[in-house]
Amino acid sequence: MRGWDEGEEDRKESLKRLTEAISQSGSDIWRSWRIYRRSLLAVVGLMLVLSVVTVSIFASDIAVEHPYRNLQDTQDLWTRDYEPRRAHPFSEECDWHEQSISLTQHRRDEIVTVVAVSDNKVGESIADGYYRDTLSVIELLSLKDNKGYDLNTSLISIDPNNSSILVLSEELYDNMSLTTIWLTYEFDNEAMHLWWMPDGYDVCIFGTNNDGQDMFSKVLYGSRVSLRIGITVALLTVTIGTIVGSVAGYFGGRVDEVIMRICDVFFAIPGLILAMAFVTAMSAITSLTMPLWLGILIPILFLAVVSRTYLTSTIPQENQLSNQVMGSLVRNRNIFLGLLVFFFFVGLIPGVSWSELFGISESREWRLSAAIGIILLLGLIGLADKRFIEKSSFDGAEERVSKSLDWTNPWKYLTLRTVAVFVAAFVLFRWSGSTDDEIVVIENFGRLWKIQAALIFTGWPGYARLIRGQVLYVKEMTFVEAAKSVGAPPGRIMFRHILPNAWAPLLVAFTLDIGGTILSASGLSFIGLGAAPGTAEWGLLVSDSRQFFVFDPHLMLFPGLAIAVTTLGFNLLGDGIRDVLDPKNRR
């Protein structure tokens, strides 16, 4: 057994290779950048994307208030408060606050002061409670009695020690005919003062919405939602589409035909309408449980395994043992293909229908055992690797483990695949939880998750078709033949030869798709299928503004512009990348 000291040469070699690879990619990136910056539009696109990403990261720092802050809380002191509704951009009213004070209550409670603050209530969502701010009063603007007649503002004064406390004068208390007074004051909402704006511009720059919330903050926070949806959906659709598409491309023939017909089915229904139907259908699902998750995962993993097997079988020097095991998969691929189609459509029905389908009683035990059984099955399929089967005896297991895990040279394992596996594991771990009777993959499968699921559901066929065409094209090239003839392992052919030559249009489509997804997601939100009411989501903000947009166009203008600018940024970026990847520009 080799020790750490013996592995030094290997470590050095691996490190050297890594450094070389990094410096090589560094120069590649530099060259690509020089091509990229030729186009002004592409640079503008990159700037837009970068600024949107920056804004979304620092939204909580730039925003003037939390998007859920609302002074029109239905509680205590603030019941009848008035926050400037639909105040126009740069209007002074943004800093005004109107408040009603019940004098009868004050007389009864013998309170001499009235405070312009309420407790700061902090919550992450509307359900948890609104955000409130401490208001320090700058100037009293008007004072009215309950009939609307003006009173002298000197009847109320600001406490010199604490500008959040208003002191009612004796006169107000003595006058028994007054029951309620309305007070308007200008407050110094510290949050409203944008630190990056010059003095004198401490106003809301996008105005306020119908609930008196600052639109600027809402739009800023909206970037988080949109980017999250855009990037998650695009990543997952790319993954699914690549797997399905490459399987179609490799198998060709009947397999290709079946997969492409499935894609045609998806193309036959306009994406937005299909997504609408899908989101509605999912309205009862509150958490993504294991059976449901597996219903989505199994077809994909199956395709992945089959494609791997197929690749393995095309290599001449093939390990006999793995052929025996995996060969049956290939031989019976029609049956498996039937199963695939079956799982694809039926597997998406929630767990209840699964048990209906197989006639098994619907119990917690059944679901758990089914889930565990399927996990084991998947594990077995995953482990049915060439190397694993080769050494599937327990003699000298310890030695083999130490051999197969070369800890003297840990750098060897720092590959893209390892990183990807770890990231995937982390993401799954992060999202998963458990309720009483289910293993839950994604807890709180809320409305945002549902749009994402719907967009993935409708989006993958596009990628499948794209990557299929690419694989068909690259598969026939001489360098693939050459790699095969020198006996390169299938994984190497796939990752080193075919995918690097097929990824260019994929990357472009991916970038363009982020923009497209943001558009579709906001469209779904607009018709009321997306984010929950009150969420800072751009589509929803536009939708909320519909009844006021004739007189208060700013409510709809800014969130819409945000969508347009973000999408434009990604589209320009995609175009720029296309130019960079275009062989004609490589000189």
């Binding site: 036959a268 309408i273 558009l519 469209g523 536009v542 004739v550």
Partner: protein
């Protein structure tokens, strides 16, 4: 391959897709949480309606389940679903209290009218700008029009429609909304609706002046309104032309929103296609013959560059129908999109599935026609 063989082959290819669409809609409609049996009997589900042979009571709910075939295995249920679809029994809408087939039949022409008119705007705009862009490659005009092409693609269509409403359909004075007839008050368009409010009266749940028996496309129906019917109308709509103009004006903004949004991708396709053709040998030959540049571009290059544009037509129709969901919601057209959105709010699933099926049917049909058209124009396609 002969053309008719191509058509037959194309039709055969359509069968699995249709089967797939029905499987897909069936699956989605079985994802629904709402129990159709419970929805039909409402609060009377517990009432005993009969007894089994063994003397056990049967509640209304159980009877409904039995009647709707919900106790059958899924495969049998799918068979029933397909049979019902084929017989035209698409279920009963709980929102409109009418058969789904009727609801969809009324709504489809409205969406189609909007989508087709939008394409009438998108195609000329996209093609002409695309041609100019390609001819003036890498000049100022090209850069600007390419930027706008990308910008149009990036516009959220619902927002763009609202901006159009704001600019063209609301008055400058603070009083707001303007008279919905072009020319009468400062030249602005009607803000929403399919025709003037004075022309509408409720018929069967839909506000419409036009007789039910027409084509449903008001641009066509307006020419078939009889003189007797015209006399019952307000004076400003007293002729077929005025009715037509009214419909057209109401369609203008939604179609402009849809059309401009879809012209962006067309422009790019046309530009790419024409640039490719301009490098062909026959274009060089035409130039060598001494033809004028405009003749070379228009007669020789464009005709060939337009051929691939035909193929996108099918997809554009699908895209326009998808976009119409949003514009209809904004402009208050009772087309398929608005019907679907409304039924989603009330979880009226038969209508949603009906809309999904009918859009799929329209899309497949238009793609079929486009493919055949393509094969007629470009015989090379048939050789595959």
């Amino acid at each position: 391959m002969k053309l008719h063989m191509f058509v037959v082959r194309r039709l055969i290819l359509l069968v699995p897709v249709i089967v797939g669409v029905t499987i897909l809609t069936f699956t989605i409609s079985h994802l629904i949480p709402a129990d159709a049996a419970a929805a039909q009997c409402g609060d009377k589900c517990g009432i005993v309606v009969g007894y089994t042979d063994d003397g056990d009571p049967i509640t209304a709910y159980e009877a409904n389940r039995e009647r709707l075939g919900m106790n059958e295995p899924l495969i049998i249920q799918f068979g029933l679903y397909v049979t019902h679809l084929y017989e035209g029994d698409w279920g009963e809408s709980s929102t409109y209290h009418r058969p789904v087939a009727d609801v969809v039949k009324d709504a489809a022409p409205i969406t189609l009218e909007m989508a087709f008119l939008a394409l009438f705007i998108a195609y000329p705009l996209g093609i002409i700008l695309g041609i100019i862009s390609a001819v003036r490659q890498d000049r100022m005009f090209d850069h600007i029009s390419r930027f706008f092409a990308i910008a149009f693609v990036s516009l959220p269509i619902f927002w763009f429609a609202m901006v159009l409403q704001l600019v063209f359909a609301t008055g400058t004075e603070s009083s707001g909304i303007c008279d919905p007839l072009f020319g009468t008050s400062g030249g602005c368009f009607p803000i929403y609706g399919r025709h003037d409010p004075s022309l509408t009266y409720p018929v069967d749940g839909f506000a419409s002046f036009y007789p039910v028996g027409g084509t449903g496309f008001h641009l066509i129906d307006s020419w078939f309104v009889t003189d007797a019917e015209l006399t019952t109308l307000p004076a400003e709509f007293g002729s077929n032309w005025l009715l037509f103009k009214d419909t057209l004006l109401h369609l203008a903004l939604p179609c402009a929103a849809l059309g401009i949004a879809s012209s962006g991708s067309l422009l790019r396709y046309m530009r790419a296609s024409l640039l490719e053709v301009l490098h062909e040998d026959y274009v060089r030959t035409a130039r060598a013959k001494g033809l004028s540049e405009s003749k070379v571009v228009i007669v020789h290059a464009c005709r060939n560059a337009l051929v691939p544009i035909v193929t996108i037509l099918g997809f554009s129709i699908g895209g326009a129908i998808g976009g119409a969901v949003l514009t209809e919601t904004i402009f208050a057209f009772n087309g398929m999109g608005r019907v679907a959105v409304k039924s989603i709010q009330y979880l009226d699933f038969p209508v949603i599935m009906g809309v999904t099926l009918i859009t799929a049917a329209i899309f497949l049909l238009s793609n079929l026609i486009v493919d055949i058209l393509y094969a007629v124009i470009d015989p090379r396609v048939r050789l595959e």
